[in-house]
Amino acid sequence: MNKLQSSNWFMALQIGVIGGIAAILISLLGMVEEFARRDIIAGVIEMGQTLLLMALLATGYFSARRSYTTRSFLRVIEGGVAGAVVGFLLWLLVQLIVALDLRTIFLNASPALIKILTFGGEGGIATFGLMFTLGILGGLAGALIQILPTRFSNATVQGLAWVALLGLLQDLIRVTLISLPTIGDALQWMFGGRNEKGLSILGAVVVFGVVAGVSVLPSGQSSRIQARLRALPAASQQTVRWISLALAAVIIFYLPNLLGSILSNVFNIVGLYILMGLGLNIVVGFAGLLDLGYVAFFAIGAYVMGVLTTTAIGPQAGQIVYGPQMTFWQALPFAVIISVIAGVILGIPVLNIRGDYLAIVTLAFGEIIRILAGSDFLKPYIGGSQGVVQVAKINIGELDFNSPQKLYYLIILAILLATFISWRLRDSRIGRAWKALREDEDVAQAMGIHLVSTKLMAFATGAAFAGLSGAILASQIGSIYPHSFKLLVSINVLALIIVGGMGSIPGVFVGGLVLVGLPELLREFSEYRLLVYSILLIVMMLNKPEGFLPETVHRRELHQEDSVDARPEPRPSAS
């Protein structure tokens, strides 16, 4: 008994140390200070503190969950201990920063950070007491959330998450509310005053109450509606489906008017990424070919559009020597077709290469394209590091797609087309061939699948979507530079489809909105975008490799081992 308890405290300390290191990292990476400007609840808590609080709550939560005892009281106390460790480590960090002048090494170990961490305290015993107590309280709160019955703890977590989310997105929500006069005025009390950011205290309490209340309700409510829907005759079900589809269409159609040009522009960027995501989803998700050079096709689409339509032709700097000066619509087929050809050309040599090697070769291909685009060697033809400028704008007859709101419709159209193509391909003969290829190449070949054409088809389709996306981007911005086509773009797109769920078409949309949309909206967040993506990639792979909106086959495949390995492994005996 005694031994059990001591190991238990040790576990709490261990988790406390891990949580403390996470909190220190968050601080030293500069997130705390950078996010301090964005209030979640006006005058009460800002984003940076929220992050630290989240680390603290998680520490308490996990130490209670990992605990060996079943006694709730002890588990809460352990959470407090783990929280205390976090508080202590952060205090230690502050002391070290001051004593050793760590700022010469760690860029973000600034006085501003210390001020946030110590709540403006002077150091000394009072500050230590404050940080230590806050640590304990946070740990206790986290542990309390954990020991609540699942229903209540879920409700609490959801409530907190919604408060944080609404607080973060308050800019967006306010802008939208302004364009809806009556409802907007009625909801003004939710937010802080004119010059404040974040929710008002009342707003936060109400949001938390509503969300927690709704999710704590017996969950029968929503499933009852579903059941009633399913009980309807087929014809009525069809009608319901059409109505909801029509409703979605109306909302999508009306959205740009609501959002204004800045937010529409964000939506356009998201749209272009979704378009690329749909393409990469075919290559990686359907066919299982990990392509890290996907940006190359995006670049090729953009460059073909640029070179074919630019009007900056001549011997001077910033001009290229030859260009046919086509219109957007004349050049678009070329952009897509040349991307497809590039896809096939890349596809042929890598036909015999699998898995890891494929990743490296495609990565190398992407880099080759980028280096060539920026080199002096090809400068006369594609502009070198100065890129191509004065790319043609999009127009149909008299109608110019010059504003983000108008371009939005074009991008939506392209996405619809791509979605339709991927959706039809997924269930077609070739789609099943891709799936077979993904599962086992040798078996697929033995079953009579022609590997060459199947793989090339995947590369070509993926390349076509990326080329289309690149071509639209080139005209949207009006100029293209080689440095826009770094490896990071490929990684972004990869992260997007992995978070959504490899092979899942709705997953691409969710991934795009969350991973591209959020950082575009939260400017200070975008500095940390890649950091968060990389953490997401690791965490997703460790805990939820099938993504948030998984395709059924993938889910089964990735969790199949759980059922096999569920048997406890034989432990080596202690003797």
């Binding site: 890891d356 990743a359 990869l494 792979m541």
Partner: protein
């Protein structure tokens, strides 16, 4: 007879031969053209060669890590380039403080040894954590899963370093005893730093090779890379051996990081990417999973990359050929994987790849 021989090859084979042939022709024609212009004397070529050798030795130190880990886990440790970077980066803080305190000038050998040790230890710590957090839980997952984790880990380390220490490049201090050249008679001379890099990398490689070939741990490593399950049955602690493999590879990469920084005297958070992918190319070139292969491939690639752009492209009238040196290295990677995926010395890969 001829017909049957023809039937054995598909149109993709022809396409690939055509591409390969075109590239070889380009290289041969370019080389002749460059040599005929006579713009470059023997001394130039010698300098290129020595530079390539020094560069190749650093690649070799990194490539060892790729090859060791691949041999055992059949996985490309994508984050290995960041293991290299972290060693170089942390050693920067030590060497600058030594430089400030005057220790570096007073006692350069001891100082450099400490700096090297710091680089090695940092890299080892990063690699062990990486293995523990990101790779070990996924040992039985489908192959794509650990690969994506590795990519995530690579970017995480890059971004974390960038945000922790700032995104500007930092200048590695000059070491007085490494300045200047050693004359070899006539026009020929070698920079001291290049001698240091080549010699120390050579010593490290030899030490590593003997470690893997002669010690008990090395033997266990080879057993695990042959067959994990059987090795476990023979009483080898597979997890421990995998950790040691990561340690070994990381130690070499850390040393490589310090040498690289001494040579190029600039560090930043993304410095690992290009040498990393080059070293991987070299490992593949030599036959991945094969230690001497990785060393040979690295030296070959280093020289190829330093001589290649001028030799192949200058004569063809390509503007600023040196910008294209990465293109040459990457093209070589693709060509090797297409035409000889087993590499120069590799033999096991053909089976292991499936």
């Amino acid at each position: 007879m001829l017909k049957r021989a023809l039937e054995r090859y598909t149109s993709t084979d022809y396409f690939m031969w055509l591409t390969g042939g075109a590239i070889v022709t380009l290289v041969v024609v370019g080389s002749f053209a460059t040599l005929r212009t006579g713009n470059y004397t023997a001394r130039h070529w010698f300098d290129f060669l020595v530079f390539g050798l020094a560069q190749g030795s650093v690649y070799a130190l990194i490539a060892l890590g790729y090859t060791l880990v691949y041999g055992i886990l059949r996985m490309i440790n994508f984050a290995h380039s960041e293991v290299f970077m972290s060693g170089a980066y942390i050693s920067y803080f030590v060497i600058t403080s030594f430089n400030k305190s005057g220790f570096l000038d007073k006692n350069p050998f001891a100082a450099l040894l400490v700096v090297l040790a710091v680089g090695v230890v940092t890299s080892v710590i990063v690699a062990v954590l990486l293995e523990r957090i990101a790779y070990r839980p996924l040992r039985k997952a489908p192959r794509l899963v650990p690969l994506i984790t590795a990519i995530g880990a690579s970017f995480f380390l890059q971004e974390a370093f960038r945000h922790l220490f700032g995104s500007q490049s930092k200048a590695y201090p000059d070491v007085d005893i490494l300045k200047g050249t050693v004359s070899l008679g006539g026009d020929f001379a070698i920079q001291k730093i290049q001698i240091l890099v080549i010699v120390s990398a050579g010593l490290l490689m030899v030490a590593l090779y003997f470690f893997v070939m002669r010690t008990r741990t090395g033997k266990a490593m080879r057993a695990v890379s042959e067959d994990k399950d059987t090795a476990a049955l023979m009483g080898i602690d597979v997890d421990a051996i995998i950790v040691r493999t990561f340690v070994l590879g990381a130690a070499a990469a850390g040393a490589g990081g310090v040498l690289y920084s001494l040579m190029f005297r600039q560090i930043n958070a993304t410095m690992g990417f290009v040498p990393g992918i080059k070293a991987f190319t070299a490992a593949v070139l030599g036959g991945i999973g094969n230690l001497p292969g990785a060393m040979l491939g690295s030296l070959f690639l280093g020289i190829f990359e330093s001589v290649g752009p001028i030799l192949f492209l200058d004569g063809l009238g390509v503007a600023a050929p040196y910008q294209l040196k990465d293109v040459i290295a990457f093209t070589m990677l693709i060509l090797v994987l297409i035409f000889r995926p087993t590499g120069l010395l590799g033999e096991r890969l053909a089976k292991a790849k499936a």
